[in-house]
């Protein structure tokens, strides 16, 4: 049990007064971000990233990941009390959570949501603790072709498995990869796609793009909607908490199933949104009385929340082990790693033990502290929604500007942020997904380097991507996933032909 010893070491790194304070600050900010309209997990993390620039990497990642856990918890509050999903992954929580609140069982629903979030995260963190070191030590043997194959797999699975129109995912991804290449070429030192502009020489910063795409565009989108809201005030008493927890073992099948779905979808770039819906739908399908779902059934809260959190947490597994983020927020954390001078990838486990195990330990601790925090302070956070959006919106704009400027101290980045805000607004409205763009922008340079190094090694022979069993199977899997919808249809058709015709 080497992992266990290292984890204990991680807790030792973590249990200093300063880190614990940062953790609380992160959680509170995160719940804020999750509750407020027009802010979400990814932009919350992106905007608050500059705060961490002067910290040491361990404190920084602890605070940022706590913002992330907080945002995950916060999404549930607005879904249940106001029928407004603060995040896309909490949409499924509103189906049964809001009816429960209408029946005066808001406290019960909130307890259920927080508890199941906690369980989902815990399962995913356990998975990370034991699986991530194994994957990363395996990946240490990877050469450039293997890495390129893994990047290819990530990109292809987005295209093949995503629910958006395929060409829109391809547009988003290739645009991200292209923009990642702007500026000085890392191999030859030549300038690319700068068109003589001195500002573009530095390249397009990933975090600036993210702040614009998620922060500014979200404000624009939020303003389009009617912002009036009516919700239930709720406070949670210890009695309710205990009664929900007492009933918990009854729902173990739902909890286990949702945790499993969440972990699976979190590791593959499918995301928390798909996981929460799948968790909910499966719970409904396997229930004895499916028609009672949607009318305030506690299982309808357990199922999506467990899955969403398990997936949100396990998205960090590929980021830690391979340097490939499983979600938009993980991509931003990855961008943070680079700012703090760490090189994401399998070497992280070898070279920065303190950092990695501190982060993993903070996942355990952050979730425990987070659960206690939200259970006790729900009324305060719910009342944040009384603050009019006209006050919140300009503050978010200012925070975005501070975040964008702080990264490189460049005024140009402020304009870039504004430009990306408009792009994000238009893209979201016509259904071009932003997650592939984010991922491509953060991985672009490393994917290109891996590709060029493999090509140099093989003297331009593409067969290098099938040169051994490992790289060959990853590349083949990537191509299969790319054409997955077509293959699925084909298999279905063959299956239909073979099935005997019913009389």
């Amino acid at each position: 049990m080497e992992a266990f010893g290292l984890l204990v070491h991680g807790f030792a790194v973590l249990l200093t007064g300063k880190t614990l304070v940062l953790m609380m600050v992160g959680l509170v900010l995160g719940v804020f971000v999750g509750v407020l309209p027009g802010l979400g997990g990814p932009n919350g993390v992106a905007i608050l990233l500059p705060l961490t620039f002067t910290m040491d990497p361990t404190s920084a990642i602890v605070m940022l990941s706590c913002i992330y856990w907080g945002a995950l918890f916060g999404g549930a509050i607005t879904s249940i009390l106001f029928n407004i999903p603060g995040e896309a992954w909490s949409v499924a929580t509103t189906f049964d959570g809001y009816p429960m609140a209408q029946q005066g069982r808001a406290a019960e629903a909130l307890t259920a949501a927080f508890t199941s979030s906690f369980i989902g995260s815990l399962v995913a963190v356990l998975l990370i603790t034991f699986l991530a070191p194994m994957i990363s030590s395996f990946a240490l043997k990877f050469g450039p072709p293997e890495f390129f194959a893994v990047y290819l797999l990530t990109f292809c699975s987005f295209v093949g498995l995503g629910r958006e129109a395929k060409h829109k995912t391809v547009i988003s991804m290739s645009l991200g990869l292209l923009l990642a290449g702007v500026g000085m070429d890392t191999v030859s030192g030549q300038l690319r796609m700068t068109f003589g502009s001195a500002e573009l020489l530095r390249g397009i910063n990933f975090l600036v793009a993210v702040i614009g795409l998620f922060g500014i565009s979200e404000i624009l989108l939020t303003m389009e909607e009617r912002l009036a809201l009516r919700g239930h005030a709720a406070s949670i008493s210890l009695r309710v908490v205990l009664s929900v927890w007492k009933d918990l073992p009854k729902y173990w099948v739902t909890l286990v199933r949702s945790s499993f779905i969440g972990c699976w979808l979190g590791i593959t770039p499918g995301g928390a949104i798909a996981a929460s819906f799948m968790g909910y739908n499966l719970a409904k399908r396997f229930a004895k009385d499916p028609e009672s779902f949607g009318k305030g059934r506690i299982e309808g809260v357990f199922a999506p929340e467990t899955a969403a959190h398990a997936s949100g947490t396990s998205a960090l597994l590929p980021m830690l082990a391979l340097g490939i983020p499983g979600s938009g927020t993980a991509a931003i954390l990855l961008g943070g790693l680079m700012v703090w001078g760490l090189n994401p990838g399998p070497l992280l486990f070898v070279e920065h033990k303190d950092f990695v195990w501190g982060l993993i330990a903070s996942m355990y601790l952050g979730n425990v502290v987070g659960l206690a925090l939200v259970l006790t302070t729900v009324p305060i956070f719910a009342s944040i929604l009384r603050v009019p959006f006209a006050a919140v919106a300009p503050m978010i704009v200012v925070s975005c500007a501070i975040g964008a400027y702080a990264i490189q101290n460049a005024m140009f980045d402020i304009w870039l942020m504004l430009g990306f805000g408009v792009v994000g607004y238009v893209f979201k409205k016509i259904g071009i997904p932003l997650a592939p763009f984010t991922l491509a922008l953060v991985l672009g340079n490393r994917a290109e380097d891996a590709f060029r190094l493999s090509m140099i090694g093989s003297a331009g022979d593409l067969r290098v991507f099938w040169s051994n069993g490992l790289v060959g199977s990853i590349t083949t899997l990537a191509i299969v996933l790319l054409f997955w919808p077509m293959i699925e249809r084909l298999v279905g058709r063959i299956g239909q032909l073979r099935r005997p015709v019913k009389a």
Partner: protein, 188 residues
């Protein structure tokens, strides 16, 4: 006494109610359809792909002694982007007659502009007066003019928020923001 009733409300289990007096009307006419925007975006992306593709071709897309030239990888990406945009353009042109979903209504556009224009002004003003003064103006102005919130509340909120940001970033965390004449007068 409105103050007391508000206080009493937060004590009981009553609903939290927030009104939105300037919400966009539901029956507002559409300005532009999603199909049209898709066509415009596809054309813009196609132009971008062509520009970037040309620039990379100019940089060099073939092989030299050391391996692929710098333009090699992005050139093919530009081709992929161009291809996908072309597909999107054709798909949007074909679907245009069938469906014309609304991209934005007039009322929505008015509200979006109500945030976008102040944000644009904020970015402009920041260059001359520094971030903190611009923030104060943005928050106070937005709350007063668009949110119709009482002047003293707007000014107080703007001042407090800006002050907290200044202390947090410039003093506590050493993240230096652009500053203008006002900060200079105080010696920062």
């Amino acid at each position: 006494m409105p103050q007391r009733s508000l206080f009493a409300m937060s004590q009981t289990d009553l609903e939290i109610v927030v009104e939105d007096p300037t919400a966009p009307e539901d029956d507002s006419p559409a300005i532009v359809s999603s199909g049209t925007i898709e066509i415009v975006v596809s054309l813009l992306l196609l132009a971008l792909a062509a520009t970037l593709g040309y620039d990379n071709w100019r940089t060099g897309i073939s092989w030299d002694a050391t391996g692929p030239e710098p333009g090699y990888f992005p050139f093919y990406l530009a081709i992929i982007l161009g291809g996908a945009s072309l597909y999107g353009l054709i798909a949007a042109l074909i679907a245009r007659r069938a469906a014309a979903a609304t991209f934005v209504t007039r009322a929505q556009a008015r509200r979006v502009m109500a945030v976008f224009v102040p944000t644009l002004l904020f970015c402009l003003v920041m260059q001359f007066l520094g971030l903190y003064v611009a923030s104060f103006l943005l928050i106070a102005g937005f709350m007063r003019l668009i949110g119709k919130i009482a002047l003293w509340k707007s000014l107080l909120t703007a001042f407090l928020f800006t002050a907290i940001m200044f202390v947090t970033f410039d003093i506590a965390f050493d993240v230096i923001m652009p500053k203008g004449p006002l900060e200079a007068a105080f010696g920062y």
